[in-house]
């Protein structure tokens, strides 16, 4: 190709693309006039519609976090025996924001992607309700659950009637560490920022756990703190990330770094730590002196769930104390069901006394519940935090 021809080729290409661009722009203008508004509240939900009665299905799709049920899935098998519905249990949720990002558009169009139950933390459960992405329970179908739910979980601000959510497990966000890699038990949030541990600290991508713990460490109570005070914590975390003090931000995989010794102390979740102890006795959970973040993960039934009626049966099923006892004994998270403590006391008294499963008032007094944020506050705080964790 001669140089002239080559130049001609590129010029022609550019002109063609210019023409295409003009066409594209006018198309965009047309679409702008009558384009769809993507996102926002689901168009196909109706607030007052309760899940209608239906036949029992023969299958159920249950989306949950990892390490949240017995390894042998005993509970699910019992459910299948009693109700005949085969449960497809998928541990696809690693982070609330990540899960939300994944299902958001489908939910907005009234499509659950096949899911019948998903489990998300309080604040996300609230968001799901506000956006109309979840269905309302039929009270007649979840009688056991309503009866056995722990009193202190009965009227959360985001769902005062427990019409759209039912707790799965609660837990603490605190400090998890390797006993053999720290100088002493890290009882203070300041230990996380100790230069001696530079590069050996990770924190959670869950904003409320990380920012909550650090805010408390700064002396403010996350139940009443102002946005500025939360931002102060975010700034401190950001500095630590920039300087290399914090090695990274994780979801469930904080346990991996602890296991390999890549990290010495992290912000992590209580139940995971206990389950990890079985494999590595050096891993411990400790509640910082300034407080742990108490959270609850909730079962919800998304819009468009194909087996919504049967899903309610499952939700009710796990509130039977005998059933819940098996789960509690394995996952070691805070049990939301009344009556389980007594059952476990007979099986294994140590479990019944375990503060991480059945926290008494004293333990609870050292915990805080991250306060409800107004949408504007949430947006600002999320944005700032996302920038820090690298998004």
């Amino acid at each position: 190709m001669t140089p002239q021809e080559r130049r001609l080729l590129t010029r022609r290409l550019l002109m063609k693309r210019g023409a295409a661009g003009a066409l594209g722009a006018s198309t965009l203008a047309y679409l702008a006039a009558c384009g769809p508004r993507t996102g926002g509240v689901a168009t196909t939900s109706s607030e007052s519609d309760v899940i209608p009665k239906a036949k029992l299905s023969d299958s159920l799709f249950f989306s949950n976090w990892p390490l949240y049920i017995e390894e042998d899935r005993g509970t699910l098998k019992e459910f299948e025996e009693e109700y005949g519905a085969k449960v497809r249990y998928v541990e696809e949720i690693n982070d609330n924001t990540e899960f939300f990002g994944k299902v958001r558009q489908q939910y907005a169009q009234g499509d659950s992607g096949g899911r019948d139950i998903h489990v998300v933390t309080d604040w996300m459960a609230g968001r799901m309700i506000r956006l109309g992405y979840v269905q309302r329970f039929d009270p007649a179908e979840i009688v056991t659950a309503q009866q056995n739910l722990l009193d202190r979980l009965r009227t959360p601000p985001f769902d005062p009637g427990r019409d759209y959510s039912m707790p799965w497990q609660s837990g603490f966000g605190g400090i998890v560490y390797r006993r053999d890699l720290v100088k002493r038990e890290p009882k203070s949030v300041d230990d996380l920022f100790d230069p001696d541990y530079k590069g050996k600290v990770t924190m959670l991508t869950e904003m409320r756990d990380t920012v909550g713990v650090v805010t408390a460490g700064l002396g403010h109570n996350p139940e009443t703190a102002t946005l500025d005070q939360f931002m102060e914590a975010v700034d401190k975390i950001g500095e630590a990330a920039d300087s290399g003090q914090i090695r990274g931000f994780t979801g469930n995989e904080f346990s991996k770094d602890l296991a390999t010794g890549d990290s010495a102390l992290v912000i992590g979740w209580s139940g995971d730590a206990v389950q990890l102890q079985v494999d590595d006795p050096n891993i411990r959970f400790v509640a910082p002196e300034t407080g742990v973040n108490l959270w609850t993960d909730n079962m919800q039934i998304p819009v468009g769930a194909p087996n919504a009626y049967t899903a309610q049966k499952m939700i009710d099923f796990v509130y039977r104390p005998e059933v819940q006892a098996d789960i509690a004994a394995y996952v070691n998270y805070i049990c939301p069901v009344e009556g389980v403590q007594e059952i476990l006391a007979k099986r294994d008294p140590a479990l019944a006394e375990n503060q991480l499963i059945f926290p008494d008032d004293e333990t609870l007094s050292n915990s805080f519940i991250f306060r409800e944020l107004r949408p504007e506050e949430e947006r600002q705080l999320d944005e700032a935090f996302q920038k820090v964790i690298g998004a």
Partner: protein
Amino acid sequence: MEAGSATAESRAEAAPRAARSPNDRRRGGKLLDLGLNVYALLALLYLLVPIAVIIVFSFNDPRGRFNFIWQEFSLDAWGDPFGVQGLGDALVKSLEIAAVSTVIATVLGTITALALVRYEFRGRAPINFFIFIPLATPEVVLGAALLSLFLNYAVGLGFGTIVIAHVMFTLSFVIVTVRSRLIGFDRSLEEAAQDLGATPWQTFRLVTLPLIMPGVVSAALLGFALSIDDFVITNFNSGSVVTFPIFIWGAARVAVPPQIYVVASMIFLFTLAMMLLTVWQQRRAERMAAVRPDEPAA
């Protein structure tokens, strides 16, 4: 590529290996040779060490949920490679998707490549460029754009959308691969066939297709490999379907049991065996062609 190297080899043999100028082996020549050999060896090691690690760690018996520290040798994982929940399903799903999308992409791609090389027509250069653009687009962008399309048309995400996505990004690879094979193609055989009275379709089916088959096959293999391995684009468009890479991504957060490494090793060894088979086949064909020069090399 195999046929290409065959012609190169024969070309090299045909051209006389004249005695090298006495200058070029002088001081440093041998050292340079040695240096090159060592360097190449190191580079190869670098390529293969992580694979070795994977195979080795598949024999690990880890204490905890994560398979990162060597504990002790054990054949347990190999005895029960699909024991991990969801692993087998994810693998099967990936294979199904790869099979379907490879077939579609290879057929479409071959036809397109033929059209691009064989015919003169308006717009050929811009179309060539257009086909190249997906190769120049980062996967994140491809995946995200496709997601926008599916969402705006309210298409349910799942098996179908994954296949569509996979065909889309492998198509360009297939076209480029088959096209490069077609370009060096000697048309005299086709012309001979036509002279002998074959219809265009017959010529294509009986002469062209068998001759470009190696290129088509390698394009198909490439497409299959790309599809099985894809994570980024699939992640955007999978909905709740779990493919093997997606399973691993999730597992990396929670637990990496040795079974994952076992399955990876199995795939690796299988593919290796397949490739060795084709190479051995190639050698055989060459040897046969040398012995009986009038039969076409397969």
